[in-house]
Amino acid sequence: MTLTNAVPTMARWDEDRFRRIRRGVLANWPTGAEVDLDEAAAYHRAMAVTKNTAWKLRQARTEGKTLVQPRAGVADIEQHIALLRRLRDAGADLLPTTVDSYTRECRYDDAERGLAQSRQAGRSLLNGFPAVNYGVGACRRIAEAVDAPLFARTAAPDCRLTHEIMYAGGYTSCTAGAIVFSLGYAKDYPLARAIESWQYSYRMMGAYHERGVTLSVEHYLPISTLVPQSISMACVILDSLIAAAQGVRDISLGIGQQCHLAQDAAALRAYPALGRHYLDAFGFNDVELSTVMSQWMGGFPSDEGQAFGVICMAAMAGYLGGVTYMISKSPHEAAGVPTTEANVHGLTASKMVLRMLADQKLAPITEIADEQAILEAETRAIVDRALELGDGDAAIGAIRAIEAGVIDVPFSPHRSNANQALPARDWRGAVRLAQFGGVPIPKEIREHHEAELAKRNAGRQPRAPWELLLADVNAISDGMLLPD
């Protein structure tokens, strides 16, 4: 799996390079031999269009509907199929297959061991479905067992073989992003290598597109607990440029819910125009854009009622933000992988709120406009600075921006992350920056952050930003938005 450590540009790979590296990728586990791109593209073309994510998302956008996708993945394929069918019956519009942690880290031998031990124990010891170990045929069995688009939910700096297997297996979308997954999931995986690994995956999707099959990606920064939405959005936009350059033609721009209705909705409302702006600037006018929100990605309350409160607030924010689809959580979130029933209830609660609100055709709440203007200005400032640093190249720019702390993700485990920016919630629970580090937030907005944070701290014992942040991190799981 030869990957250079040189700084990659965003330029589209030539066929040769893709083919050369591909041999190594597919050789990495026996099931790689099952993949034949032409045959797989034909398989997709023969599939009902209703099973294609891009088609389904386009339909939802046209009808102004919000779709819901839960997370789900277990070690045993029969149980996994049963789980997906139950979720589909309960109203899931898009069906997930969450891949286990070993597979994410390309540790297929460990996944094999986990699979064997799971079979022995009669329950899943793996936290997801080890798709690579199962191979293409097994994935197609899943695809043929359900009547909705399938989503490969895996995330790491290198998901190439998983993508090969699952896309050939009839999946039509995946969670994605070189930058977002490096900053969210990696410690010392070099950024340059991560970008190349993702360029491979994107090029592969491009190859499908050239064969008449549109595959979709969902970009979002998974470590979103208190990361300002603009920082997430900037990463997502850069990843989207990198993806589009390789030929990806259907992208969902994602955020994680932060439980502040106006700010969450504002991010979702800002996304389409922002995304369009940058993609068009690079000439990617034919890339279709959707928006997606993951329900609260921080520590969940262990009380199941409170968990439903968070879930229903997410649905509310998604509705106000006109989101295309939403990834639902369950009342078991704090405890562990949910039972089927708990998973279903997270889904049905979300859909109930979405449906009831959709009928009411509410105007956006007044607070959204202000937050949207702020997020737009911030995101543009970060992306523009990154592109400037990269001399107009999104890949180079992203790496330099991270190294310069222009992109700085609080809590990122990645060694390249600056860790100088510190967020905090303001007096109304909106996420602001208490320390800006190298993040180029425009001056007036900086002052706004400071003023809103000052209102929160007014009349209280002064607290160190770090201390405040700790309290804020635990607040939702303790049952509130702002800690007392």
Partner: protein, 143 residues
């Protein structure tokens, strides 16, 4: 000993959940421990190596992603082989897949040789109290 003790902390296996240990490390430091944080994706070998190099009093293994039953067995044995068989071993996070009754789970990790295992959502306060008690008990035992 100027600090309350040296702790090696990390997220085991293929697990990348680092927010918990970030919080935990900062709380442990604030309360006087010397914390060596190895971050995410830490192998058993790395835990043992770091514990020896820093003459640690305890290893704190975080496992959120659910693979605790696959990733955690054998660490006690590796410690013993490396000559630190008596080191305090804690494990916490979401150590198994799914919402399970805690008692049997705790039993499993005790059988693997962990001195304490924590259910989801353990507070730093509780960890600090336990560490303080366990480490001072050892000091007394040695005295």
């Amino acid at each position: 000993m100027s600090s309350k003790g040296t702790l090696v902390l990390g997220v085991i296996g293929a697990d990348i959940h680092n927010i918990g240990i970030t919080i935990l490390a900062s709380a442990l430091r604030a309360s006087g421990f010397n914390v060596v944080s190895l971050g995410i994706l830490v192998s058993q070998e790395e835990f043992v190596k770091a514990a020896i190099e820093t003459a640690a009093d305890a290893i704190l293994v975080s496992s959120l992603c659910g693979h605790g039953e696959l990733d955690c067995p054998g660490l006690r044995e590796k410690c013993t082989e490396a000559g630190i068989g008596n080191i305090l071993l804690y494990v916490g996070g979401n150590v198994v897949v799914g919402k399970q009754d805690w008692e049997p789970v705790a039993g499993k990790f005790a059988a693997m040789g962990y001195d304490r295992a924590y259910p989801p959502g353990a507070t730093p306060q509780r960890v600090i109290e336990d560490l303080t008690a366990d480490l001072s008990a050892r000091v007394e035992a040695r005295a």
